[in-house]
Amino acid sequence: MKFSLTSEQELIQKTAREFAAKEIAPFSAEWDREARFPKDVVKKLADLGFLGMNVAPEHGGAGMDTLSYILAVEEISRGDAAVGVIMSVNNSLVCWPIDTYGTPEQKERWLAPLARGEHLGAYCLSEPQAGTDAAAQKATAKKTDKGWVLNGTKNFITNGASADTLVVMAMTDIEAGHKGISAFIVDAKASGVGVAHTEKKMGIRASDTAQITLDDVELGEDGLLGKVGKGFGVAMSTLDGGRIGIAAQALGIGQAALDHAISYAREREQFGKPIGKFQAIQFKIADMAMRLDGARLLTYRAAWTKDQTPKHSVESAMAKYMASTTAVFCAEEAVQIFGGNGYSKEYPVEKLMRDAKICDIYEGTNEVQKMVVGATMLA
């Protein structure tokens, strides 16, 4: 084993950290308050090559390994988790499936602008009644002479109102259950694609989350991504990778909570000395740091495993489950250490607690992660 980073990975980490400290963290509270999608910052992420990090240079990407990408998401999320998820969705949930399952023509048309950051992507799997039970899709894709017609409603779509390109799952055979699902690439400006509403959320408020409606959306033959009936596999393998991105996002939140907690514990005085001199506070900090380091190692291991083998579901599920649990734990402890100030929007930690909670839920709830781990163990 080896626990050191390559010099290239260290450079990515440093670049992302400095960018987050300068261009993200100072504005994070304002974006959160106004629920404002930070378009300018997304443009700058594109300039850094952070929107197509694992895509080969010939398709417009940065051609880096998964761990480099994960380090970047972690550092960006340390500045603001909403920016982290914008980045993670584009890289993991949109670029990756097109890169993995797309034809050369699809890659040329859709992937290159996404990887260069000229276009932004969204991933449309969830529906109002199909959350954890993702196979219970109601959206349909009917075969026509020229291609396909899509109808349906997609829920909780990150980047939904801002996206140019959508990866969409729909039933091509409603009788066949998960074997009747196929994946498609849809131009968000196509006729029939609509934004029903954007969600008002507890946290990650700078990320836009929309309900997308598909109303007789016509696609050519080349709108199909992968093979007919193989969409569920596309969706699940995509999420296997996406979960590592969410784990990294959670690490960024957890680290921000620890950073703030330690600074505050050193400054805040009660009973005539800094509260960091009390064991009650020291033990909280030690627990936060230990869990964070452990979750970080699980996340980096998942990233490393993904570069070795496509079979990394368990590693990803463990990383996502543990990193998100840790983020929530660290954010709550940070609020506790801040006391009354922790509950105030004048201080940064209440936002971290709100942001952290989504990591327990999206890209597969932690309950789903445990199903993945448990089922694999007992198989």
Binding site: Q279, L298, T305, L378
Partner: protein, 381 residues
């Protein structure tokens, strides 16, 4: 980063696993009941070179790196945590003080014998000095040609069999700077070995108390110089904690393995209990926590092997692994239900064995103090 094992590591570990399954597992129940290691097994362990694992080849040892050594302790603990701690104490806190701080003369005199299986032990804890190790009251009085040691040491693992005792005692004033470390031989006049403790678990490993009554130790058996005893002890414990972390991982492996197997066999409500989410989740949570903790241990071992500072990570590893193993043992008993409370099933022993891991070589609370101290220092004090 690279999360894979080297081929030689895998081979070595497999050899240990086969040995543990073939030779140790059949004796576990008996050793637990009798409260002592099987003497034929002890001979075998000696012959197989387990007491020389971490010793350099130049002193007749195997010269394993810390990581591979940790993996070996994990395999041994998976079979029997008491046997694992016997080997771990000898290879870490019992011998490391000499290896790291001893003179060449001291190393040449003791290390080859230890590597061959003359057992070493580590004597820091006293009735009044547990977590507050710096407050120990054993004294070492300078006399012609050496020192005379007086005091009482407790919880000395391996003491029942040990030939050599690393002992810390006060040569100077109060506090941690007044301490020195010595190597005391079993035959020293004035050294009285007490009875074995009757313990809740880890019963194949012995722990004794000892009394030093004006015991003479020659000058050359001072480890390093006067006044560094606390540093010797703490740096030995930094490494020892990695061993305990791997010991915890081994117990956790055994718990998870037993729980998963049992849950697939045991039927209730017309199907194996493994089909119930309540059980699956205990297993999934356990497996995830186990993976996380093991990565911390591997990282601590790697840092030590790289010659980098590893104290904070070792504390994290010890804390994470031992707390995790405690939870896994509890879940394993719970999954076994009433049978988990019976001595017919191994999980009952795992549950008792694991409890002391959160206590010895620094309680969980001490690990947290170590971690917090490092962290607050990183941020400026």
């Amino acid at each position: 980063m690279d999360f894979g094992l080297r081929e030689d590591q895998e081979l070595f570990v497999k050899g240990v696993r086969d040995f543990a399954r073939g030779e140790i597992v059949p004796l576990c129940q008996k050793m637990d009941r009798e409260g002592i290691i099987d003497s034929a097994l002890l001979d075998q362990i000696r012959q197989q070179g387990f007491f020389g694992l971490t010793f350099p080849e130049s002193y007749g040892g195997v010269g394993l790196d810390t990581h591979t050594y940790g993996l070996v302790i994990r395999e041994l603990a998976r079979a029997d945590a008491g046997v694992a701690i016997m080997i771990s104490v000898h290879n870490s806190v019992g011998s490391y003080p000499i290896l790291k701080f001893g003179s060449e003369e001291l190393k040449n005199k003791y290390l080859p014998q230890m590597a061959q299986g003359k057992l070493a032990s580590f004597c820091v804890t006293e009735p009044g000095a547990g977590s507050d190790a710096g407050s120990m009251s054993a004294r070492a009085e300078k006399v012609d040609g050496g020192y005379r040691l007086t005091g009482e040491k407790i919880w000395v693992t391996n003491g029942h069999f040990a030939e050599y005792f690393v002992v810390t005692a006060r040569t100077g004033g109060a506090g941690s700077k007044g301490l020195s470390a010595f190597i005391v031989e079993r035959e020293s006049e004035g050294l009285q070995i007490g009875a074995k403790e009757d313990k809740m678990g880890l019963r194949s490993s012995d722990a004794i108390s000892l009394v030093l009554d004006n015991a003479f130790v020659p000058d050359e058996n001072l480890i390093g110089e006067e006044g560094i005893g606390f540093k010797v002890a703490m740096s030995a414990l930094d490494g020892g904690r990695i061993g305990v972390a791997y010991q915890a991982l081994g117990i956790a492996d055994a718990c998870l393995d037993a729980a998963a197997r049992y849950s697939l066999e045991r039927e209730q409500f017309g199907k194996p209990i493994a089909r119930q989410q309540a059980i699956q989740w205990m297993l999934a949570e356990g497996a995830t926590e186990l993976s996380m903790a093991s990565l911390l241990a591997d990282k601590a071992a790697w840092l030590k092997d790289q010659g980098k500072s590893f104290g904070q990570t070792a504390a994290m590893a010890k804390l994470a692994c031992t707390e995790m193993a405690g939870r896994l043992a509890d879940s394993a008993v719970q999954i076994h239900g009433g049978y988990g409370y019976s001595k017919d099933y191994a999980v009952e022993r795992y549950y008792r064995d694991v409890r002391v891991l959160r206590i010895y070589e620094g309680t969980s609370e001490i690990q947290k103090l170590v971690i917090a101290r490092h962290l607050l220092a990183e941020y400026g004090g």
